[in-house]
C-alpha cells in the first residue's frame, strides 16, 4: 500500500541537511494547507535545480547555462583569475563586489588523509584554461586551513614557470573589529605577519 502523501513529503524533507523529523512534518503540513501556488513554485524550483543547472564550462561554478553569468559578462577582467575551493566561496567573494575578475572553482582541497589528490580537483582544467587564454594574475583564495595552504602552494608551483603574478589572500584582524574581541588564533597570526609602515 502506498504511503500517504503527507508522510511521503515529510520523509523527503527529512533527508535535507539540518531538517529533523519534526521540522519536516511541519513543512509538509504547511505545504498541504497553504496556497497551491507555493507547492507549484516549490516543485518547479526543485526540478529546475537538477535539470537545468550544470557546472560552467570555463570556471566550474554553478550555472543555468553552458557558461555562467560571470564568465559571459564582457565587463569582467579576464586577466585576473580568483581560484576558490567551492562555489559557495565564489558567491561570498561576489557579494563583496570588490572583485572584477573571473573565477576558477577547484571543487575541494588537497587532503592525502581523505585520499584527495590533484587529479580529484579541477587543477588540470585551470592549466588548460591558462593555456588557451593566459592571465596576468592568479589569486589563490583557498581557505587558510593547512589543506587550503598546501593546495595553494601546489598550484603556485605548477603555475610559476608561466611567469604570471601569483597572490594569496591576506589574513588578519577583521575590519571594524576590536583587538580585545578578536579570537586568539587570528590575533596571534596578525602579530606574526605584521607589516612595515
Amino acid at each position: 500500500m502506498p504511503t500517504n502523501p503527507i508522510d511521503r513529503l515529510t520523509h523527503a524533507f527529512s533527508k535535507l541537511p539540518g531538517i529533523g523529523e519534526k521540522s519536516a512534518a511541519r513543512l509538509a503540513f504547511h505545504v498541504f494547507k497553504g496556497d497551491p501556488k507555493i507547492a507549484e513554485e516549490l516543485a518547479q524550483a526543485l526540478l529546475a535545480i537538477k535539470c537545468t543547472t550544470a557546472l560552467c564550462a570555463h570556471c566550474f561554478g554553478i550555472t543555468a547555462d553552458d557558461v555562467c553569468t560571470i564568465c559571459s559578462d564582457d565587463r569582467r577582467n579576464r586577466q585576473t583569475i580568483c581560484v576558490v575551493e567551492e562555489p559557495k566561496d565564489m558567491a561570498a567573494i561576489e557579494k563583496t563586489r570588490a572583485f572584477q575578475g573571473i573565477y576558477h572553482v577547484l571543487h575541494g582541497v588537497l587532503s592525502p588523509l581523505d585520499g584527495v589528490g590533484p587529479s580529484d580537483l579541477r587543477i588540470a582544467e585551470l592549466v588548460n584554461r591558462l593555456e588557451a587564454s593566459p592571465a596576468v594574475e592568479i589569486i589563490l583564495a583557498t581557505n587558510p586551513t593547512v589543506e587550503g595552504e598546501a593546495t595553494s602552494h601546489y598550484i603556485a608551483d605548477i603555475l610559476r614557470p608561466r611567469g604570471m603574478r601569483i597572490t594569496r589572500l591576506a589574513s588578519g584582524i577583521p575590519m571594524g573589529a576590536f583587538l580585545e574581541y578578536t579570537d586568539q588564533q587570528t590575533l596571534a597570526l596578525a602579530i606574526n605577519r605584521r607589516r612595515e609602515l
Binding site: P112, V146, A150, T151, S152, Y154, Q184, Q185
Partner: protein
C-alpha cells in the same frame, strides 16, 4: 581564583552530586574505584575540555545516559562566573553564565598524577607532551601552531606512504606540506626553546626546596635540528629546518615517514653532569618531576597573575615519608586552590593547623570527614 562548589550530573558514578568546596585544600580520601579520581577528573575537564584518563567521552557518561554535566562557580577576586560543561559522546559544550562559549581560558589547572613520575624515565613523547601542555597554556599561539603542525604532519606522512606515486609527483605534492611543516615547526621550536629557558629560571629554587642535592638541576631542550639556532629567532630556524629537510629528502622517501621537525624533539634533565634518565636513583627521579611541576605552577602564576588550581591525583602514596613531608610543605606555599585524592588520610602529611576540607568517598557517596 577558586571554585566555590562542584555539581555533577550523570558524570561517571555520580547521578547527582553537590559539593561545597574549600577555597584552599580539598582532600578526597577513599579506596580505589570509589570515585575520588572522578572529582579531580571533573575539575580537569572544566579547564581542558577532555579527560586525562580516557579519550572516549562515553566513558564519562553514566551507563544509559546520553549526556553528563559538570557545573561550578568560579571566583576571581570579587568576580563570580557560573561555569558549566555539557559532555556528550561526540562533543562538549561550554557555558559561561548560561551563554555558550568555546572554552574557559581563565580556569587553569595543573595536574599531577602518578603517570607524571614516568616523565624522566620513558621515551621522548611523554616529555614532548609535558612541554606541549605547558606551552599551550602559556601561549595561545602555541596551541594553534601545534594543531596545524600535527595536521600537516599526518598529511605529509600519508603522502610518503603512497606506494603508487612516481617520485616526481610525490616530490611536487610533498612540497606544500613541507613548507608548512618548516614554518610551523620553526615557530614551535622557538617557543619550546623559550619555554625551557623559562623553566630553567625557576628550577634552582624549586629543586632546592625538595632535594638536598648540592649539584644543580638543569633542563636541556634537544631539538634534532636548530638547537643553537632556536635562540636566534624563527627565521634562522626556518633556514635550518629547510636545510635538514633537503639533506634528508632521500632518506625520508626511503623510510616513508617525516624525519625532520619538532615531533622528534626531546628534553634531557641533568643533575650536575649526570643525565637523570640514565643515572638517577628512584628518589631523584621523583624530586626532578616534583621540581618540574613546581616550575609549571610558577610559570602559570607569572603569566596568569594568580595561582592555577592544583590537581593531585593519588600522588602521595608514590612518595617516601621524607619526600611526602617536603612535598606537602611545598604545597602549602602554593596559595591557590588544591584538590587532592588519596587512598588514606595518613598519606597526606599536613600540619594540624592547616585549613582544609576533608571528604570521604565510598561508592559514589561523599561525606565530610573529621580529621
Amino acid at each position: 581564583m577558586h571554585l566555590t562548589y562542584l555539581r555533577l550530573q550523570q558524570f561517571r558514578n555520580y547521578p547527582h552530586l553537590d559539593l561545597q568546596l574549600h577555597p584552599r585544600l580539598n582532600i578526597f580520601v577513599g579506596n580505589n574505584a570509589q570515585g575520588k579520581t572522578n572529582i579531580v577528573e571533573a575539575v580537569y575537564f572544566l579547564s581542558e575540555g577532555h579527560s586525562f584518563r580516557t579519550s572516549t567521552a562515553a566513558d564519562l557518561l553514566q551507563w544509559g545516559e546520553d549526556r553528563a554535566q559538570i557545573g561550578t562557580e568560579l571566583m576571581r577576586d570579587d568576580l563570580m562566573d557560573e561555569i558549566a560543561v555539557e559532555v556528550l559522546a561526540s562533543r562538549r559544550n561550554f557555558f559561561r553564565n548560561g551563554k555558550k562559549v568555546r572554552n574557559i581560558p581563565e580556569l587553569t589547572t595543573v595536574l599531577f598524577a602518578p603517570e607524571a613520575l614516568r616523565l624522566t624515565k620513558e621515551g621522548p613523547s611523554e616529555r614532548r607532551q609535558f612541554l606541549d601542555h605547558l606551552l599551550g597554556q602559556l601561549y595561545p599561539s602555541y596551541r594553534v601552531a601545534l594543531r596545524r603542525y600535527t595536521q600537516a604532519l599526518l598529511n605529509h606522512n600519508r603522502l610518503l606512504r603512497n606506494e603508487e606515486m612516481t617520485y616526481g609527483d610525490m616530490a611536487r605534492q610533498l612540497d606544500g606540506w613541507k613548507t608548512q611543516l618548516i614554518d610551523l615547526g620553526a615557530e614551535l621550536t622557538v617557543l619550546r626553546s623559550q619555554g625551557v629557558a623559562d623553566i630553567n629560571r625557576h628550577l634552582p629554587e624549586a629543586y632546592g626546596a625538595i632535594s638536598k642535592q648540592e649539584a644543580p638541576l638543569r633542563l636541556q631542550y634537544l631539538p634534532r635540528y636548530g638547537a643553537e639556532e632556536a635562540l636566534l629567532g624563527k627565521d634562522v630556524v626556518v633556514g635550518c629546518l629547510a636545510k635538514a629537510f633537503h639533506d634528508r629528502r632521500d632518506d625520508e622517501m626511503r623510510r616513508r615517514t617525516t624525519l625532520v621537525g619538532p615531533h622528534r624533539d626531546d628534553l634531557a634533565a641533568h643533575i650536575g653532569n649526570k643525565e637523570v634518565r640514565h643515572f638517577a636513583s628512584q628518589g631523584e627521579h621523583r624530586s626532578v618531576v616534583l621540581a618540574l611541576k613546581r616550575c609549571e605552577i610558577r610559570l602559570l602564576e607569572e603569566v596568569l597573575g594568580h595561582p592555577p588550581i592544583l590537581l593531585l591525583d593519588d600522588v602521595a602514596s608514590e612518595l617516601d615519608p621524607s619526600r611526602n613531608h617536603a612535598y606537602f610543605s611545598q604545597l602549602l606555599a602554593h596559595t591557590g586552590q588544591v584538590f587532592i585524592s588519596a587512598v588514606s588520610a595518613e598519606d597526606v602529611d599536613l600540619p594540624e593547623t592547616q585549613e582544609a576540607r576533608w571528604f570521604s568517598v565510598s561508592s559514589g557517596q561523599i561525606d565530610f570527614l573529621k580529621k
